[in-house]
């Protein structure tokens, strides 16, 4: 787009950006200095840097590692290499550790936590525990009639949905309600656990799997968002533990699976942020007078 207009050599001085006055220029005259003078490129654009992006991507990494840990637990239950009782105790232990961490974090942030709310948490935890225990036979037969191929495909789809919709952002101040997408994400993961549970052969295994999924997909994302207030080193440490756990658990099934998990996690944490930083060179945000103004209302 060149602004040279050789056909008209008249001085541009008496050109005005108005419509109400007939100017001595043809309608397609391009005023060299005025045309697109108000154009601003990348006006309010702050480029991302690699370090903070890697740190931010640890949430995604933790999330994906969680899914693989869960899948490994499922495989172990299915192949009877793990005792379902052990998984149940593990889930209870995880809950206690998670809850203590939650309380500590809340205390550090200066939140108020009364005895009543503590008892409420305990009550609902026991209620969920008992409800799952009594529902386990139902959950086991819920999708039993569906063929295994459909179950794998459905679980894959639901886990993808769970990953895409999860809320990876740091919690904002005065945010009372959770976003719809994060609720959908949790539901997708629990549904995936329920459909996978129908491939197990004992009620206790089903109960262990669903209880474990509740820890992993409903409670851990809540804790993860709390973790944003902790030092970066701690978050990196948690990510490291989860990644290591998922890789070692998956490679116990097959070394191929282990390598896949390792490369996926490395890609998410280190390669994807680099790609984003690189892609910013193509950023071309154009702003001008035609943009919808933002009203400032006090």
């Amino acid at each position: 787009m060149t602004n040279t207009n050789t056909a008209i050599s008249r001085d541009e001085k008496d050109w005005q950006r108005v419509l109400w006055k007939r100017l001595p220029y043809p309608d397609n005259y391009v005023p060299p200095t005025h045309f697109l003078a108000s154009l601003r490129k990348n006006a309010n654009f702050t480029p991302y840097t690699y370090g903070p992006l890697v740190l931010a991507s640890t949430s995604v990494c933790q999330h994906v590692a969680n899914i693989f840990i869960f899948l490994s637990v499922f495989l172990r239950l299915k192949e009877h290499t793990s005792n379902p009782r052990f998984i149940v105790w593990l889930a209870i232990l995880l809950f206690c550790v998670g809850y203590v961490t939650w309380e500590v974090l809340l205390y550090r942030q200066g939140g108020t936590w009364t005895r009543e709310s503590r008892s409420r948490v305990m009550r609902s935890a026991i209620l969920v525990f008992l409800a799952l225990l009594s529902l386990a036979p139902v959950l086991k037969t819920l999708t039993e009639a569906t063929s295994s191929d459909s179950i794998w495909a459905l679980a894959f789809f639901l886990f993808t949905l769970h990953t895409l919709l999860a809320d990876y952002t740091a919690p904002r101040l005065q945010e009372s309600r959770e976003r719809l997408t994060s609720v959908l994400s949790m539901n997708a993961a629990i549904s995936a656990a329920v459909v996978l549970a129908s491939r197990l052969d004992s009620d206790l295994s089903v109960f262990a799997l669903v209880l474990f999924s509740v820890q992993m997909f409903a409670l851990f994302p809540l804790l993860r968002r709390r973790l944003f207030s902790t030092p970066a080193m701690f978050r990196a440490f948690i990510t490291g533990i989860l990644s290591f756990a998922s890789i070692s658990l998956m490679s116990a099934h097959s070394s191929m699976a282990g390598w896949i998990v390792l490369s996926a996690l490395l890609f998410i944490t280190f390669v994807a942020p680099a790609l984003l930083v690189w892609a910013q060179r193509y950023k071309n945000e154009i702003r001008g007078e035609w943009d919808v103004a933002v009203p400032e209302v006090g």
Partner: protein
């Protein structure tokens, strides 16, 4: 003239096309309008006063009066129309009209030259913009000339459609000044501020909601008269309730275009709080009716009226209140003469003038050498790695389809229009 948006719908674009067509007819051109049908009553061919032929093409409507982009299926409809009416120029209107875009795409098969008028502004960074701008760029890729309604709109269109700015003309909208005659009102202390707008976010209703109570509190003799309807009506009603201004803020609801003048003459100041506006025909109508105009400084609005007929505000609450205060002072001091304002607007904008300027565009493009098919394909492929190939395929298939149509429905079998409607002959 090809556009999705036409009578019996009402709106700015519809009105623009009708008035431009009528004025072109008056100057001895032949004008045919192609739009989609409005079943069950508006189908086939209709004639509008004074002798304007309208073809209603029966293609399905998608949303808000616009048809689904058809590309190829429009060709069998447009081909006989173009041939039998001996068309030489296609003038498409509105960037969201797929009819206009497709007619421009098909025109080269008939050796017809093309003009496109863009009536609105689009952002370059939101979802609507990203989707429609690619469509527009594809359609305008091979257009001979484009017309925009303001300098801001021209810059916007040049960026969106990646056009050579020298092929883009700025020709403003106009109005029939006689329809907006001011009325002599006996002097009174009450100052009425009129707002006529669709009550939507883009029209800046939030600014109105925030500033109206403050103006009412500061000036006990100021009243508001608000015309129009829309999703933000509820906000206005709540504001009125909250500040107990039922007797000072009148909400009249939806206003038809013929009633606009009757509403305008009841006021002395016109307030426009739009957040984006390509041209702002509303404030021009108000200025013509003799109202003093207060507007937000957005889009093409600063180009429409000379500085002494309008006060500008930045789109924030304090500034709107400030600009209104200034306007009230001007009115109180009697510095604004409605009849003089009317005469001035009348001398600035007229459809005769606009039609002449449009004719210049038509003459210019007839002089230019047509773009040959190879250049067209080449330009189309430059659109982008995906869009370029898609549109390239559409272009090639379209040409093949055209030959099939030529073979299946030969030109000899088309009933040509031999005798045209002649206004001069009719009035004899």
């Amino acid at each position: 003239m090809v556009c999705d948006f036409f009578h019996p719908n009402v709106g700015g674009v519809e009105n623009h096309i009708y008035l431009l067509s009528v004025n072109l007819l008056k100057r001895g051109h032949k004008v045919v309008i192609v739009t989609h049908s409005y079943p069950p009553s508006r189908v086939g061919i209709r004639w509008l006063v004074p002798g304007l032929k309208v073809y209603h093409v029966p293609l399905p409507v998608l949303v808000s009066g616009a048809t689904l982009p058809n590309y190829l299926t429009f060709l069998p409809w447009i081909r006989p129309i173009l041939l039998r009416e001996h068309i030489t120029i296609i003038h498409g209107h509105a960037s969201l009209s797929s009819f206009a875009q497709e007619a421009i795409l098909h025109s080269h098969l008939f050796g017809i030259r093309t003009v496109f008028t863009d009536h609105s502004l689009f952002a370059l960074d939101d979802a609507t913009g990203i989707l429609t701008n690619k469509l527009l760029a594809a359609a305008l890729n091979n257009v001979d000339a484009a017309i925009c309604v303001s300098h801001t709109a021209r810059e916007n269109t040049v960026l969106r459609a990646n056009l050579d700015p020298r092929t883009v003309y700025v020709i403003p909208n106009a109005l029939i000044a006689e329809q907006f005659q001011p009325q002599a009102v006996p002097p009174s202390d009450t100052i009425t501020i009129v707002v006529i707008s669709r009550l939507a976010y883009r029209k800046g209703v939030d600014l109105l909601v925030a500033s109206a109570p403050r103006v009412c509190a500061a000036f006990p003799n100021v009243r508001f008269l608000i015309g129009g309807d829309g999703p933000k009506m509820i906000d206005l009603l709540q504001m009125r309730e909250k500040h107990m201004l039922q007797d000072r803020i009148e909400l009249v609801g939806a206003v038809s275009h013929s009633d606009v003048r009757n509403l305008l003459i009841r006021g002395t100041i016109y307030l426009n709080t739009s957040l984006t506006e390509a041209f702002g025909i509303g404030l021009l109508e108000a200025a013509c009716t003799g109202l003093y105009v207060v507007s937000t400084r957005v889009g093409g609005v600063p180009e429409v009226l000379p500085e002494d007929m309008i006060s500008f505000a930045h789109p924030n609450e304090d500034d709107v209140v400030h600009a209104l205060t200034k306007a009230i002072a001007i009115i109180k001091a009697g510095e604004h003469d409605p009849f003089r304002a009317h005469e001035r607007v009348k001398s600035m904008y007229s459809w005769e003038e606009i039609t002449k300027r449009t004719e210049v565009v038509y003459e210019d493009i007839m002089k230019r050498t047509p773009i040959d098919l190879w250049t067209r394909i080449h330009r189309t492929l430059r659109l982008g790695p995906f869009a370029g190939i898609i549109y390239g395929i559409i272009l090639v298939v379209e040409c093949l389809f055209f030959f099939v149509l030529e073979w299946a429905f030969p030109r000899e079998d088309i009933h040509y229009v031999k005798e045209d409607w002649d206004m001069a002959k009719f009035s004899e």
